[in-house]
Amino acid sequence: MTSPLVWRISRESARLIGYKCTSCGWVSFPERKRTCKRCGAAPAEFEELQMKPFGKIISFVIQHRLPEGFQTPLPLAVVEFDEGARVYGEIIDCRPEEVQVGLEVEADLRVMYEENGLDIYSYKFKPRRGSA
């Protein structure tokens, strides 16, 4: 079964649809917020924004101690999309030592976890390479 939480944000998160504050341009992703975190507009007016899958690493940690079910070492980073929205995500397809602040990354749809035998998808981030 698609769980209520997954269903609520599936369209936004799986298709990279963000919400842009009409008064200051701040982008919220994946949830549509009631108030704007930057200009404080309350209630804020947001418009839908189709984001591109590109961004860069703002900060990161390499996790070495995690519970069972996680591969370690695991790079986790705050990524800022080119549109401005910031998210927290896994860095994949590279060695932990390649991860650095400022690294240009591309959002890549992957299986996040399994829920009652159903794969649940979201974005992880891989370094931008070649013409891809």
Binding site: F70, Q71, I92, L109, V111, E114, G130, A132
Partner: protein, 335 residues
């Protein structure tokens, strides 16, 4: 008229050499390599990427697609709606026509035919056919040397760069390789399956196509054969009397990825336009074979930021057998 307006291919980044697999099992030698999916990739994530590349090449929005037909033999689900999930991920409208095809690798051409039929009936004007597979062979088996992962997609529209000129189906009840749910492919008499299954079925499908279209084999510039084994493909070329130079295959580089292999090779052929602009493409799987004739009118457009099939074949990272086993998730473990 039904045209191919665009194609998209997704080849996972990782490769394992046949030699590395053989070494793990105490055997020596081995030619070629195959594509390996990461542990967090499945038929849906790969299918989405192939489809998005196809839409991007045609400068199309998901909302402009009126059909999403999906073919796979390795989704792992007995009940689920993958075509509908793909349609949602691609941003298609809720009224989009969706259908899941499977149970035979040949279902990739069933999907293609269904989309063509819907267009010819005037029910849709633009459709997406996606094939994606992630085949996992029993460790130590012969199939382990070739079973791979990948995805490809075609956009069908009224106007494109290649036209679908003819289609011939040949069905029998013959089943070669098959697999029960949740199990590995069982061992079959490969020689018998190659002769009685593959060679017989594709020959008869091709024979019918050439007759119906009143065309001779030498008029085709490129040939795509949906062979699950490199030797089968070569045998077929010899038996049917086709020039091996016309054979377009990614088998030696990425292995065999079920339904997807047919479309990956077809996309590769479309990309390598030759002076003889006709392509013969023949699918095969349990139950039969379908033969298609395509006429390429012009070179497909090159898109900035979109990798060619050739580039995807070359962009790779080799993994060891132990990493490959971990990625296969046969041992469980984290995604």
């Amino acid at each position: 008229m039904v045209d191919i307006a665009s194609y998209g291919v997704y080849v996972p980044r990782y490769r394992i050499k046949a030699e590395e697999i053989n070494q793990a099992w105490g055997r020596s030698g081995g030619r070629g390599e195959k594509a390996v999916a990461a542990p967090d990739e499945d038929v849906l994530t790969m299918g989405v990427k192939a489809a998005r590349a196809a839409l991007m090449r045609a400068s199309l929005d998901g909302a402009q697609v009126e059909a999403v037909y999906f073919a796979s033999i390795s989704s792992g689900y007995a009940e689920n709606a993958l075509a509908a999930q793909l349609a949602g991920l691609l941003g298609a409208n809720q009224g989009v026509s969706v259908a899941d095809f499977g149970l035979s690798t040949r279902s990739v051409t069933s999907a293609l035919q269904a989309c063509t039929d819907a267009m010819e009936a005037g029910r849709i004007g633009c459709g997406l056919v996606i094939a994606s597979d992630r085949l996992i062979a029993k460790p130590g088996s012969d199939y382990e040397l070739s079973y791979a992962a990948g995805a490809a997609a075609l956009v069908l529209a009224k106007e494109g760069f290649a036209s679908l000129g003819g289609f011939s189906a040949y069905s029998s009840g013959f089943v070669g390789r098959s697999r029960a749910e949740g199990q590995f492919h069982g061992t079959v008499d490969e020689r018998f399956v190659m002769q009685q299954g593959f060679l017989e079925h594709i020959s008869l499908a091709i024979q019918d196509l050439t007759k119906v279209m009143n065309i001779t084999l030498d008029q085709f510039g490129q040939v795509v054969l949906h062979a699950p084994d490199l030797r089968w493909g070569n045998r077929a070329l010899a038996q049917i009397g086709l020039d091996p130079k016309k054979h377009v295959s990614t088998f030696a580089q990425i292995g065999y990825a079920g339904c997807a292999s047919f479309l990956v090779d077809l996309a590769y052929a479309l990309e390598k336009l030759t002076s003889l602009r006709k392509i013969l493409a023949v699918s095969y799987g349990p139950g039969g074979s379908d033969a298609l004739a395509l006429s390429v009118e012009k070179q497909p457009s090159k898109m900035h930021g979109l990798m060619t099939v050739e580039e995807q074949l070359n962009q790779k990272e080799h993994v060891s057998y132990s990493t490959y086993l971990r990625y296969s998730r046969l041992l469980g473990g984290p995604r």
